[in-house]
Symmetry: C2
Subunit: 484 residues, 2 copies
Amino acid sequence: MTKPPGHDKSPENLKAALTEFIEILGQDNVMTDHEIMKSYTGSDWSSYVPKENEVPAIVLNPGSTEDVSRIMKVCHKRVIPVTAYAGGTSLEGHFTATKGGVSIDFQRMNQIVALHKDDLDVVVQPGVEWEALNEELAQTGLFFPPDPGRGAKVGGMVATGCSGTNAYYYGTMREWVLSLVVVLADGTVIKTRQRPRKSSAGYDLTKTFIGNEGTLGLVTEATLRLTNYPENQTVAVASFPSIHSAAGCASAVVRKGVHIAAVELLDDVQMETINASGLTSHHFEESPTLFFKFSGTPSGTQEQISIIKDLAEREKVKTFQFARDPDEVDKLWGTRKSALDSIVQRKKDPSDRVWTTDVAVPISRLPDIIEETREDINKSGVVGGIAGHVGDGNFHAMLVFSNQEQKLVEELIHRMVKRAIEMEGTCTGEHGIGLVKRDYLPHEVGESTVDAMRKMKQAFDPLCLLNCDKVIRMQVPKQEEVSE
Amino acid sequence: MTKPPGHDKSPENLKAALTEFIEILGQDNVMTDHEIMKSYTGSDWSSYVPKENEVPAIVLNPGSTEDVSRIMKVCHKRVIPVTAYAGGTSLEGHFTATKGGVSIDFQRMNQIVALHKDDLDVVVQPGVEWEALNEELAQTGLFFPPDPGRGAKVGGMVATGCSGTNAYYYGTMREWVLSLVVVLADGTVIKTRQRPRKSSAGYDLTKTFIGNEGTLGLVTEATLRLTNYPENQTVAVASFPSIHSAAGCASAVVRKGVHIAAVELLDDVQMETINASGLTSHHFEESPTLFFKFSGTPSGTQEQISIIKDLAEREKVKTFQFARDPDEVDKLWGTRKSALDSIVQRKKDPSDRVWTTDVAVPISRLPDIIEETREDINKSGVVGGIAGHVGDGNFHAMLVFSNQEQKLVEELIHRMVKRAIEMEGTCTGEHGIGLVKRDYLPHEVGESTVDAMRKMKQAFDPLCLLNCDKVIRMQVPKQEEVSE
């Protein structure tokens, strides 16, 4: 463990820094208003509840890589901690300014810098939303597959190494970034590589920064791989007698190597909740349900559907329906996407919270862990749905709870994570470690591996300026901070 | 730049180390015979010609991760440089013991540790050959896609981040490794992650070690992703009037997003050479030729073939033929794979050498760079073929030359690499940097990026024990070592 970071957050130092920031960005892009500062601490859907003092002193809106580099030079010289902010949709406390200091909001850096249609790539700034990007790309027939939560921006998507429903077929963010421009903790600007689709020139720094959670550097530009928008998409929905049989079918489909674009699971609670929410016009069977997405030629899709129907029947499928037209495709798939929104509606009191967490396991263990977790939630009496990217062995529990239920929920999640790690899985399949899951990391990968990660952090950010203490604790934690 | 590594290669130190190695491995697995040592310096197909003194003093054959850890603890304590050796098929000097000291040969660590059929993964030791692995997997219907040169082993495949003809569809080694056990320079053993197909638990150390070229740690176990063996493979071969039109067709196929399993190019010299070699019974048109591989349902494949035929006709294709049966599929595809072997036959004198090098560019630039490089080779009078994984914008020049032509060949390759970098490409698409391409790296990615890589090296191997000075120069080079 290293010694505590010597951050200088004295009023004099921050005041002097402020003057320098205004020089760099102009008055309009430097904020200190307390109300604004508070909006950079958390969100309604974040699992981490910020403490009173976890508020930035200054929020900056840079307009360019050069701006960010100059900001970091000031923060480096003055040893001021920095937190990056893009879409603010992450769940594990990534953008909470736990050390105070400066938050950098990339909202002004929201441009598509260059679209290379013939190379199937696009250069974007970190403030670009993935949905806006795909709208822009639609006219060219191209598309960018990673589909995390609504509102997520490229900077955060790189930082968390996000994925979503398309990951089963297309892979995660890791597979869709060709190159990054990154500002390091001391203000140095690096470009990880050029634009060829394949390279083995030196260490894979692009991948180093994907999933760095804002702790190793700040992404100021990304070159993203694109692909052609899939033709002839269709969706099938299958409901099962038990969660074990639904997960078992998903697992069998993966094992069989059926060419599907996605396979998602929503459990019975989730389906009830969706019916009750009024967010979709369709009324669904209130049983554990798989949503399959297909793309390809009509005859190819028919073949795949018949294989899947066969596998579903072995798991005693109750109903199996298809979208009859593109409109219904959107509607059925939209249902899957409304899972979190519908769960939020189950708050009984405005002070209730929603805790969304995820784990992933080797695919053969999926039926067991999902069943055990469902039973555990039922026993606890807490309202919670299970939904997941089951093709990747990855699922989410979304729990709605009151203050009184806080401890109960913490314990539920603790057992779910423990189960995943014991099954050779991971404490997080796509949300990242952030603040909330730091103490699971040594259990999952071992102390020596966490030490290796710490060496990497020290190499890139020896002053611990960037999202200090997230992902990896840099200081020995107090006894009560660490769970079993 | 760091100070020169203080390696201790004194006879006393090596002798004392030898005693410790024998204690760890037993006499049979510790070698010092000079003839054996010389076989760890290079190969007939390596671009790097080892100097007289670039020979290990000791070769070790460990049998387990624990052995490797104990070896590294000795080398760390005694500051002895270490070079890893797996299949010995790399091209850029990776396994040459440039610093003397110890070479670790992983040949005894050649076991499949665990096959998890239902999870689509397999745990293997670094000495497993990819072809042997696929033979073993064949009975389960599973397969491991990366297909580098014959004889390559998993340890080296991870170290170079290899790829091959399957990379266009399946991705490179980077996409097929779930987790690694790595012994670090001080003997620490880490496991990068567990076995789920998706994880965002901490920094992506797995990717850090893929492509590390033996400089950051020694891989002692790898968990590899598997997929189902593709059904109904077929192959089509199309010959074109010019290399520009052949590359243009490949580029158009990629841009159109046609679902093919692979697309490879061999130029006219390569096709002549293959006809002359007698390595295949088929007689080919001696023109620039594309080899397409398809997999999927018969009707799906027919659709793809007709789209490709159409794109080929726009480029004035001369001939277009298909494999009529599985035997012909193997024969035609085998032709592509015989490119290097046939070129080797063109040596006029046993002292002639073959230099195989690769670059990659954004796909739209492929026709230009291939044409310019072909013309440049023609003008030089050197015998050389061009072959490549053109779906990835990646191609190889394979040059046969005498001692007198050495300078000519160096200049040809220099111009080819320069061309690639100027087109926003890379000095190596899949072979790695090793010793030969170190000085291109700063031109390609910039000095600040190479510095960031150097920080990573220093974090993991501060004594510069592992393949010291490969990928990145740790010491300021002498003037004459660095090209333009």
